[in-house]
Point group: C2
Chain length 332, copies 2
Amino acid sequence: MTTAKDMQGRDGAALPNPSAVGLVAVIVAATDGEPRALTVQVEGQAAGRSVGLPAGPLVPEHPTLERGLRAWVERQTHQRLGYVEQLYTFGDRDRQGDEAQGLHSLSVAYLALVREVRPAGLAEASWRNWYRYLPWEDFREGRPAALAEIEPKLLAWAGETGDPKLKRRREDRLSLTFGLCDGAWNEERVLERYELLFEAGLIPEAQGQSGSASPADIAVTGQPMAFDHRRVLATAIGRLRGKIKYRPVVFELMPPTFTLFQLQRTVEALSGTNLHKQNFRRLVAQQGLVEETDGVTSGATGRPARLVRFRREVLLERPAPGFRLRPAKRPA
Amino acid sequence: MTTAKDMQGRDGAALPNPSAVGLVAVIVAATDGEPRALTVQVEGQAAGRSVGLPAGPLVPEHPTLERGLRAWVERQTHQRLGYVEQLYTFGDRDRQGDEAQGLHSLSVAYLALVREVRPAGLAEASWRNWYRYLPWEDFREGRPAALAEIEPKLLAWAGETGDPKLKRRREDRLSLTFGLCDGAWNEERVLERYELLFEAGLIPEAQGQSGSASPADIAVTGQPMAFDHRRVLATAIGRLRGKIKYRPVVFELMPPTFTLFQLQRTVEALSGTNLHKQNFRRLVAQQGLVEETDGVTSGATGRPARLVRFRREVLLERPAPGFRLRPAKRPA
DNA sequence: CGGCACAATGCTCACTTTGAGCATAAGTGA
DNA sequence: TCACTTATGCTCAAAGTGAGCATTGTGCCG
């Protein structure tokens, strides 16, 4: 029989293999229609990788993981967090940067959405456009230039293997993630694309390369980050892109009042695609997500737009996702 | 400046607060149209809570979290895992059962879907209908009887507070999760419902009650589990209910060939609701999820049904989720 | 001040996707 | 052969979507 102690590893007498646990945060804001992540300076990393995400170890003073995270972020960046959700727990032995001997080190990543870009009280903390790290993800201006450079390399990678089965599998993955060999682009597969590039050796983090990439390389495969933080960022973007489709989370990024077009720009910034304007406002309208204020924009060119605000009530109303699979009348 | 050591806690000299990390698995199968989870016997728990989920500590031999999990599950249950995905990492100080002094203990939970119910090589491992633990989640036979018992208690809980604001918030939550005070039932909010019951004191695990619940209580608020495993189970069900709507994961639970109605029964088992038969098959058909075989069922009453098989290719085809927010032509 | 360029809004229209049912087909058991 | 049961085919109306055209306010520029 399995004992509780055996299972949970709480045998006080012989504590079984403790691990070092870290907390990492992807803190997202959107200003001027650009998606940004909060970054901090990190010492002791390879050249060109001195920027990372706010992070810190979990310490016993933290009552919960999330509280611990908030504490670290406030300390490192002076940024208060509002909306926070757990992203993923990373634990690969060989992907976390330098290794702690015999100790597993795993990091619990969180996604946070914040409203305003504080001028950043600390020099070490700064907001960066996230497409700087993943340039191939931005389709707002059409197919990103970076992709043109990346694609042949990926195809070469798929072709370089002798094993035809493996080659086939690689091509399938390319089709699925990058939409090569027919296949459509799915903006949510951010992580899968990053991991594919990683495997294909196009990501400097892969080999722990210490040589800094050239500016040209950076424009194509993006700016590297400390540790495996680019992977964490990719995870966050993918998750967020999925979530905005069925939960009104974008509003966490908006100021108290805004125009429908600003809202659209924000969604576009996150998803990396452009949307049909009229249909976008129809969608927002019929879902009852916003209500008009009596303010309008002014100053800019063109007809002034009405300012709206998010209807907090919808958080209670929305029957929520509710996709297909609607229940039958009651055939039982 | 934040140093790498500071951030990641990898300072070999003074290792900062290691934690005990556990792995937990919710292993799901569906046989005879019932959703089941694999459970194991757990020693040293309060009366009536001797059943838990397969789990074990993370040890350094495990190259990745997932591999560690697979190892534990195979050892404890002799069950091989196929589809596995990470669920959530639980880390509340006060919810994990007995505490390790000064050590954070957190558990990384996984969801696994398996095809067949092995007769279970070990007596300690057995498959249990998951609604045994969460009886209020099963709407297949209409509104579950358990809900009728639960609702007045929840309303009382909302009413028992003096603070009108708090009362209001509680009622909002009831509406959102249980569909009380108007509000619709959303089958995905499994965890939120469990947590609400927990807070309302209707869940024995809450106070670490050692007194065993009466059979009548169990029929209403469900069979308790060891540790916080019922919470983990609730998380898994909610996640799975969401996922089947936009990814063809149900097929991981199906035998090589099956009828459309068996497929429907499986989906219904997971989601806890009934579906319109004709529309269900239309959906499956037009999405091209299955292909016909030349077999048909026999023996049972009624017209024999055609056996179909899952089209593995769709894993490569499906433009995937792809909900709303379709991109514009290219207005840029 | 009239005309322009530009963005915000209104509204149309064809085409799919759903929710619900009716009608038939094809076995089993009495 | 009839009664019953489940599988399948099809129809229909109501919503939901993807694309565009048309109009309305504003700031700017002769």
